[in-house]
């Protein structure tokens, strides 16, 4: 008995020591994390993030479908979920960088565009205006179609508002990205972009619901105009030659 008790008393310090080390380690890590948070908040938003972290951003909405045509091989079927995930991440990375952290824009575009497409896309000046702050994403959605796990189209819509150097802004953005998979990764090689002011931003931004109503009605009127335009085009017929 005596022997076993003495053995237990010998083991105890080891066990206690391990707990102590873990506890100290945890405290140090927590302290470091707190310090890091303090750095960000003390300097305002972090250099890469222009949105107020407390602003609730709209959730991403994704629709992904497979292009019609040839059946997928076993290998392609197995790879499909991975590619779907990669493309979703790609859309998130690009457009969150464009609208919420412009300083990361270059990095995000470099990772996801071919070199020449990136340069050209950047030159269009898409994203938030200069000096943007307190950006609020009101809508972000992506419609992705994947062909044979090797080619994809991404139709991405973002509606954002915020403050900028020249005053409040609100913008509606639609990009169509054409991507092909090469060497295991997806690269955007072509795009179409359409970004325009969404509506006039009132000085006070209290009534978001009212703004939503406005945006809905403006979208409706746009749809109406498009319908008229389409019918005009149809009437015109034309052979183009």
């Amino acid at each position: 008995m005596t022997t076993s008790t003495s053995q237990e008393s010998k083991r105890k310090p080891w066990w206690l020591l391990a707990v102590a080390i873990l506890a100290v380690g945890g405290l140090v890590a927590a302290a470091m994390a707190m310090t890091a948070d303090d750095d960000e908040s003390s300097g305002g938003p972090s250099p890469g993030i222009i949105g107020d972290p407390e602003i609730r951003q709209a959730e991403w909405r994704f629709t992904v479908r497979r292009a019609p045509g040839k059946k997928l091989s076993k290998k392609q079927r197995a790879s499909f979920p991975t590619q779907r995930k990669k493309l979703k991440t790609m859309a998130q990375d690009i457009f969150d960088a464009l609208f919420l952290s412009p300083q990361n824009q270059g990095k995000a575009l470099r990772a996801n565009f071919t070199s020449s497409a990136r340069k050209s896309y950047q030159r269009t000046g898409v994203g938030v205006p200069r000096g943007a702050d307190d950006v609020r994403i009101r809508r972000r959605s992506a419609w992705i179609v994947i062909d044979q796990t090797a080619r994809a189209t991404l139709s991405v819509k973002v509606v954002a508002q915020g403050e900028a150097d020249k005053g409040p802004f609100a913008t509606t953005h639609h990009s169509v990205l054409y991507a092909a998979r090469e060497k295991g990764g997806w690269k955007v090689f072509g795009y179409e972009v359409d970004q325009k002011p969404f509506k006039k931003q009132k000085a006070s931004n209290k009534d978001d619901e009212a703004n939503d109503e406005q945006s809905k009605s403006s979208e409706k009127s746009k749809k109406g105009k498009n319908k008229k335009k389409r019918s005009r085009d149809k009437n015109r017929g034309g052979d183009g030659s």
Partner: protein, 267 residues
């Protein structure tokens, strides 16, 4: 308000030639069914896109054009396909125009009709009706504004009811290609994923020497060219005969068209 509106689109495909011009030969075989590669081509069209200016053009060759077929003597241009398949047709058009062709695409009656059926009606106004029950089977009412698969095939085949015969038909084929471009742009504008429907139709109903990856890039590129920026020109010809055969001779004026097309990639 946010900065000025941004609208635009570009394709930066690695396969694009340095001078920014891509040329594709479209061949329409007269094969009702079976192997279209060794039949005669009733449609011969050289289409080009300038990827820098995003403009394009189509040169239409009447099928009876009397030309030199490389390594095979002289003959109607439509015989090149019969004598040596699409490759010889490409070499023939290259030798006539001096333009290096990047790709070819060949379709026949059944494939053409099925492709249009799969993709949906083609918006093309036919001001004067076409009725050719004995030939192409055309029965298109005046002021028709869109063509289904059957009518589309009839439209590009009809020549007997046209005042200019085969030359008018050739011009109509060029018009049809531009109408297809307009449809492609409308489809992609509504839903970019429709690009894959077009690719599927192309792969299923035509023969082509374009790998899927490049077909995608070429399709995207084409969809960014406005139909009003594509000129369609039928080569000037004079009716004549070669032996007992009734043919047309391409006039010297065509050379300036080839030169302009080669230089600009558009018309």
């Amino acid at each position: 308000m946010a900065g000025a509106p941004v609208t635009g689109g570009r394709v930066h495909a690695d396969h694009q030639p340095k001078d920014g011009k891509i040329f594709v030969l479209f061949l329409g075989s007269d094969a009702r069914s079976g192997n279209p590669t060794h039949s005669r081509a009733d449609g011969v069209h050289l289409a080009g896109i300038n990827t820098k200016t995003m403009k394009g053009g189509i040169i239409n060759f009447p099928r009876d054009s009397w030309v030199n077929i490389p390594g095979s003597g002289s003959g109607r241009i439509n015989e090149a396909l019969y004598r040596g398949g699409p490759e010889l047709a490409v070499r023939t058009v290259e030798s006539i125009t001096g333009i290096q062709i990047d790709y070819w695409l060949l379709t026949a009656f059944e494939g053409f009709q099925s492709a249009v059926r799969d993709l949906g009606n083609v918006p093309l106004e036919v001001k004067q009706g076409m009725h050719d029950p004995g030939g192409s089977g055309a029965d298109i009412e005046p002021r028709t504004k869109s063509l289904n698969g059957v009518d589309s095939l009839a439209f590009v085949r009809t020549r007997k009811s046209l005042p200019g015969g085969d030359v008018s038909r050739t011009s109509n084929q060029g018009r049809f290609l531009i109408a297809l471009l307009r449809k492609l742009r409308t489809d992609i504008g509504r839903s970019p994923g429709r690009m894959f429907d077009w690719m599927t139709a192309a792969r299923k109903w035509t023969r082509l020497d374009i790998p899927p990856h490049e077909l995608f890039q070429l399709g995207v590129l084409t969809s960014q060219v406005r139909s009003q920026d594509v000129g369609s020109v039928t080569v000037p010809v004079r009716v004549g005969s070669a032996g007992a055969a009734s043919v047309v001779f391409i006039q010297p004026g065509a050379q300036s068209i080839y030169d302009r097309f080669k230089k600009n990639g558009s018309l």
